[in-house]
Subunit: 338 residues, 2 copies
């Protein structure tokens, strides 16, 4: 499938969906739309991902495109009206439009009419299935080992850690699979429950349902974590995933330069040791689980020395081996996890 990715004014650092698709999805990315970086290329900014030109908008894409993917996930999940011309142009060209926003494109009258008129599909990834229910507390009964990525904040690399860990496990001969819980993971994997959009009573149940579905098909399931257990807005999602997953082991994800909660800067991050203690003690009454490895995003640090020093500090705090799965390789900590 040939796609364009909308990431206006936010590529690359605030466009984590765009980055995830460029790195992990089996799509042929024709162009990234970012009016602030037109003329640059993906490879100028994102290592280890497929390259593509960055253009101002859909009007600058001459090649055939099957789908436009909204590659930004702003706080609150709203639709920015400045994106409307690109979505309109895409639909008029018959392109499908894929979105992980809380704002559903299918409920936008103009988009729905354009999609119908031009035989294009609107896929709102964040619309959950209707048959979800409460957790029964039985995820741990499956045969596969369950690992869950947890983190210190939003956008600290939980999705990346999940994807890189599964890739590394497969390369080492394990039959591993991702349990996708967020819009990017779902877009990459082509299935999954958008946990932040299910009704709160069903949060754990929506994770459990995916684990029960895949538990007998694989040896290792890696559940994509969300948010942070001390996030002022999103901790409910994190807590539901933690208890629904009933993981055997946890992997702590952190951004080496993050000091306060993104978008909530009056809230300092507590020490890493506090996170380890909180996640383990909160998980224990439902399922004993231990933080066995760390994944650190060091891309804001200059040079190998700084990255290795940050990793060493992080390993001390986590009390387990750690790596940066992009700068280095998730395989470095695989032995501690599987």
């Amino acid at each position: 499938m040939r796609v364009t990715i909308l990431a206006h004014e936010q590529f690359p650092d605030r466009a984590k969906t765009a980055q995830g698709i460029l790195r992990y999805a089996d799509y042929d990315v024709v162009a990234v739309l970012d009016r602030d970086r037109a003329g640059e290329r993906v490879a100028d900014h994102v290592p280890d991902a497929q390259d593509a030109p960055i253009v101002t908008g859909m009007d600058d894409v001459d090649e055939p495109v099957d789908a436009l993917i909204v590659g930004i996930a702003p706080i609150g999940g709203g639709f920015d009206e400045s994106w409307r011309p690109d979505v309109r142009t895409a639909l008029e060209r018959g392109c499908d439009v894929v979105s992980g926003l809380h704002y559903f494109l299918t409920e936008d009258e103009e988009f729905a009419a354009l999609a119908a008129a031009h035989d294009a599909e609107l896929w709102d990834v964040r619309e959950p299935p209707e048959d979800l229910s409460v957790s029964e507390g039985v995820a741990a009964d499956i045969d596969a080992e369950i690992v869950c990525t947890v983190g210190t904040d939003c956008s600290v690399g939980k999705m990346t850690a999940t994807m890189e860990l599964v890739d590394a496990a497969r390369e080492a001969g394990h039959d591993a699979a991702v349990i996708p819980t967020g819009q990017t993971g779902i877009m990459v994997e082509g299935w999954g429950n958008p946990i932040d959009r299910v009704i709160s009573d069903f949060t754990a149940g929506a994770v459990e349902e995916m684990i029960l579905e895949k538990g007998d098909e694989h040896d290792l399931l890696v559940v994509e974590g969300q948010g942070s257990i001390v996030h002022p807005a999103y901790s409910a999602v994190t807590c539901g995933i933690l208890h629904g997953a009933m993981a055997d082991r946890l992997v702590m994800c952190h951004d080496a330069t993050r000091e306060s909660i993104h978008g909530y800067e009056s809230f300092d991050l507590p020490p890493i040791e506090t996170y380890v203690s909180l996640y383990e003690s909160l998980a224990a009454p439902v399922r004993e689980s231990e933080v066995v490895a760390g994944m650190l995003d060091t891309h804001h640090l200059e040079g190998d020395d700084a990255a290795r020093a940050a990793l060493s500090d992080f390993e001390d705090a986590v009390g387990a081996p750690a790596t940066d799965p992009i700068r280095y390789d998730a395989a470095e900590v695989l032995e501690a996890i599987v």
Copy 2:
């Protein structure tokens, strides 16, 4: 308003919504419907609440009725088809029907048609408003003191503790108000966001929105807690309320005879001390908060000696004064809370 309360096969112990309405709402309860207890009376089972006859069904209620309230909240929130004749009869008599089930009566074709034909209203209390959003982490900025009830499990008395605490505070001269988060609280108070039904990303935000709305009108807000922070299915709701409320103080609620999680009996309750530590350490990074009192449901214990002994043990475990607000009086611990 004259109401009947449907509680088939579950009155009184498994009909907490019915009990809450009998105790705290300003409704005139004409009858309770429980086919297993027809001929008995509410006063045979529930102390300190308005009395009413218990009957087999709506056909046995000859007096005029304004509304039928579904007073049961089964796990999962489904509609039991054995209740259909009573709802049908109520609507045919022009009674409104109030329900806190996940299953929305307004989406049931027969009920919707009957309600339209007989000018009756269907009120699905658990349908959240559409304008909710993510928390901004600012609930603590209001002038009122914020207290949140937390608990060891579902159905351990958080709603009761909330109502009794607000009553006791008002009697002591405080301008106190309930922040209702569940179906019973909303039915009793006539407003509120059904937190277990909002989408998970907005869990904390839906609590914050209520606190910001009421914060300048009162001196003391008591947030009705839900579930338990270690519940295999519902912990997400609990965690979102804890962080959205940004409470100054917490009140720990427990049932003296509860040893495992209701409906999830393979999960033992951890020690009370573990709950205190978990709630306080989880709240702290968002808002420092302390468990300052306990509320113990002792109604399964025989006699004052057993209840006082259980309360003494509970006080030791919580590290704060405790009472049973039904057997004794919430005023006993008010000083520790306000």
